[in-house]
Symmetry: C2
Subunit: 354 residues, 2 copies
C-alpha cells in the first residue's frame, strides 16, 4: 500500500505556514501579532496603519528597494532577513545616505516552519537594530508550496542625505568625477558571502569555516566620507563581485583600470573554496564590503579611515584608474607579474545568491 504523501496531511498552523495565514482573517492577525510585529516593535510600525508616518524629514530623501530570493534561507554568517536589511541599508549607504526607515514585504510559501520564520524575523530585527533603522511598515502574503524554497523578502528603504554632510547636498559625485590616476580602495576580504551561500547549498559547509560578510555599511561609508580624502565614488561589490563593479566603472568612465592581484584581500578559506567550486573570487558576491574611488594623493587618508572601522580593518588599495580608451579594460596584474583581462561574470553561474 502506498504511503500517504506528506502534503496530504493537514499541517498544524502553529507549526507550519498554511494558506489561511495569508487570507486576512484571524490566522493572519495571529501570525503577524505573534511572529512578526511583536519582534519588530517600534513607534512607527506599532500603529499598523496603511502607511507609516515618518514625520517631516530634514534633508534630501533617498528611496531604494531590493528583492531577495537567496537559497538556502539560512547560511553561515547570515540569512535572507539579515541580507534584506543590510542590502537595502547599503544601497542607501553607498549614496552617502543614512537610513531612516525600512518597509518589509514577505511572500511565504505554505509549509514553511514557523520556527524558521521566527528566526528570520528575529534576524531582521537584530540587523535593523545594528544598522540603526526600524521596519516602519510591511506586508505579508502566503502562496502555495511549489518548492521554490520557503520565502522571498523585499525591503525598501528611505534614507537621508545630510545637506551639511561631507559629500555635499548631492551625495557622492558619482563616476563622472573619476579621473586617471585615482586609487581603488577595497574595504576587506572578498567573496565570502557568495562562497558561504554556495557552500551551504552544496553541503560543503562542514569543509569550510567561511561565513557571509553580510553587514550594514553606513558607519564604514560615513567614516571614509568623513576623512580628509577626496572620495569620488562608493559602491558595494555585490552580485557580480569586484570584477562586475570594476567592469561597470571602466565602461562608464571610459578609463582602463589596473588591479594588483597580490593587493586584493582573499582569505585562504575563500581561495580554497573558490577553487573547489570552480569560481574566480573576483566575480563572487560580497554583502559587507565597499569599493571607494579616491584621488591618488588622498588614498592614504581614505585607507586609514577605512582600517580604523571594524568592518574595514583589512582594507587595501587594490588598483588604480588608467588612461581613457575606446575599449576600456580592467586588467589584473597577477602575482606572477602577468596580465589578464577581468571580465564581468556571466550571470547564470550564481543564481539565488541574494
Amino acid at each position: 500500500m502506498p504511503e500517504i504523501p506528506e502534503q496530504q496531511s493537514s499541517p498544524d498552523p502553529d507549526e507550519r505556514i498554511v494558506l489561511a495565514h495569508g487570507g486576512g482573517g484571524e490566522l493572519t492577525r495571529r501570525l503577524l501579532a505573534d511572529h512578526v510585529v511583536n519582534k519588530l516593535a517600534n513607534d512607527l510600525l506599532d500603529p499598523l496603519t496603511d502607511s507609516a508616518d515618518l514625520g517631516p524629514l530634514d534633508g534630501r530623501v533617498c528611496l531604494t528597494t531590493d528583492a531577495f530570493v537567496v537559497q538556502p534561507l539560512e547560511f553561515p554568517g547570515g540569512d535572507i532577513g539579515r541580507l534584506a536589511v543590510c542590502g537595502t541599508v547599503n544601497d542607501l549607504a553607498v549614496m552617502g545616505a543614512v537610513p531612516k526607515a525600512l518597509s518589509l514585504a514577505l511572500i511565504i510559501e505554505e509549509g514553511l516552519p514557523i520556527a524558521t520564520l521566527d528566526r528570520i524575523v528575529e534576524s531582521i530585527a537584530a540587523a535593523a537594530d545594528e544598522a540603526g533603522v526600524v521596519v516602519a511598515t510591511g506586508d505579508t502574503k502566503v502562496v502555495e508550496h511549489h518548492g521554490s524554497g520557503g520565502m522571498t523578502v523585499t525591503t525598501a528603504g528611505v534614507g537621508l542625505l545630510s545637506p551639511d554632510g561631507p559629500a555635499g547636498a548631492d551625495g557622492l559625485a558619482g563616476e563622472a568625477a573619476i579621473r586617471p590616476g585615482d586609487a581603488v580602495l577595497l574595504s576587506g576580504r572578498i567573496a565570502e558571502h557568495g562562497l558561504a551561500v554556495m557552500s551551504a547549498r552544496e553541503n560543503l559547509a562542514f569543509r569550510t569555516s567561511l561565513r557571509s560578510d553580510v553587514a550594514p555599511l553606513t558607519g564604514l561609508v560615513q567614516a571614509v566620507l568623513a576623512s580628509a580624502a577626496d572620495v569620488r565614488f562608493v559602491r558595494d561589490p555585490t552580485r557580480g563581485g569586484l570584477a562586475g563593479l570594476l567592469a561597470d566603472l571602466a565602461e562608464q568612465t571610459r578609463l582602463c583600470i589596473e588591479v594588483e592581484e597580490s593587493a586584493v584581500p582573499v582569505s585562504a578559506a575563500a581561495r580554497h573554496t573558490a577553487e573547489l567550486l570552480g569560481l574566480d573570487p573576483l566575480t563572487v558576491a560580497n554583502e559587507g564590503k565597499i569599493v571607494a574611488v579616491v584621488s591618488a594623493d588622498t588614498a592614504e587618508e581614505a585607507l586609514a579611515a577605512c582600517r580604523a572601522h571594524p568592518l574595514g580593518a583589512d582594507g587595501a588599495v587594490v588598483g588604480r584608474f588608467g588612461e581613457p580608451s575606446d575599449w576600456p579594460l580592467v586588467e589584473l596584474i597577477t602575482r606572477a607579474g602577468g596580465r589578464r583581462i577581468v571580465q564581468r561574470p556571466y550571470g547564470e553561474d550564481l543564481p539565488r545568491i541574494c
Copy 2:
C-alpha cells in the same frame, strides 16, 4: 518514442525569461534597458543609482509597501502591475497622503513570456502616470520555474501629508475619532475586483462583463477630505471586502455598526457572479473603492463630494455607527427587513486575489 518535454529545449531569451536574465550580466542589462527602464523612464529612475534621490520633501513623509501575488497575472480590468501601483498609492491615499515616488521589485520566474512582462510593465507605467507618481527605483530577480505563475510584484511608496491639508498635519484622525451616529460612506459598487479575478481564474470570463475596479484613489480621497464634511476615517475595503473592514472598525471602536443591504451598491453582474461562485459580495475584495466615516450631520457634504468625482459616482451612505458594546457587531439589515451578523471572511476562500 516519447516527446521531448518542453522545458528541455533551451528557451529563446528574446521570447521568454531565462535564469541568466537575473544574473547581473549582459542579458540582465538588456532586459532592464529594453523591457523595464525604457518604459518607466523618468528623471528619478534614469540615473540608475543604488537609490533614488527624491530631493528635500516638504511635509510629513509616509512610507508603505505591498506584495502582489495575484493569479492570473492579467484579468479583466487590470493586471498585477496596475494592481501593485494602485494598491500602494491607495495605502498612502487613505492616510490623506499624496504619493511622490514608488519603488518596484519584480521577482520573475524563468519561462515568463517577454511579451507578458512588456504588457505588465507598460501597465505599471500607465497606472503610475494616472496616479501622478513615478517609479523612482527598482530591482529585478529571476527564479527557477516551478509553476507559481510567472511573477510577483512588490511596490513601496513614499507620500507626503500636506501640513496645510484639510486633515491637518497628523493626517486623518483615525478610528479613535469615530462616534456613535457617524455615517458610513461607500464610494461605489463593491466586489468587482475579486469577482473579476475569480472569473478569469475559473474561466468564467465569457459569462460576465465584470471588470476589476482597480484604480488610484488619491483624487477621490482628496476630494472627500476637501469637502466641508467632518471626515473621521478613510480606508479602502480590499482583502476581506466591506465586511472585513467594518468588522475591524467595530472591534477597534467597540461600537456596533448597522449596514442597510438595500443601500450597498452591487451591480447585477456582480450579484450573479457571486452567487455562481458561492461568495458573499460583502466579503469580496475591492481595489478602487473607499469607505469614509463622517459625522452624521455632514454626511451629505461628503456624499456630494464623492459623487462629483468620476470614481465615486455611485457613492452611497450605507450604514451608521451605533452604541458602544462589549461585543460590538456589524449587523446587516436585509432587504426583507431581517438582520444578520456580518462576519470577517475566513481567509482561505480567496487566495491570490491581490
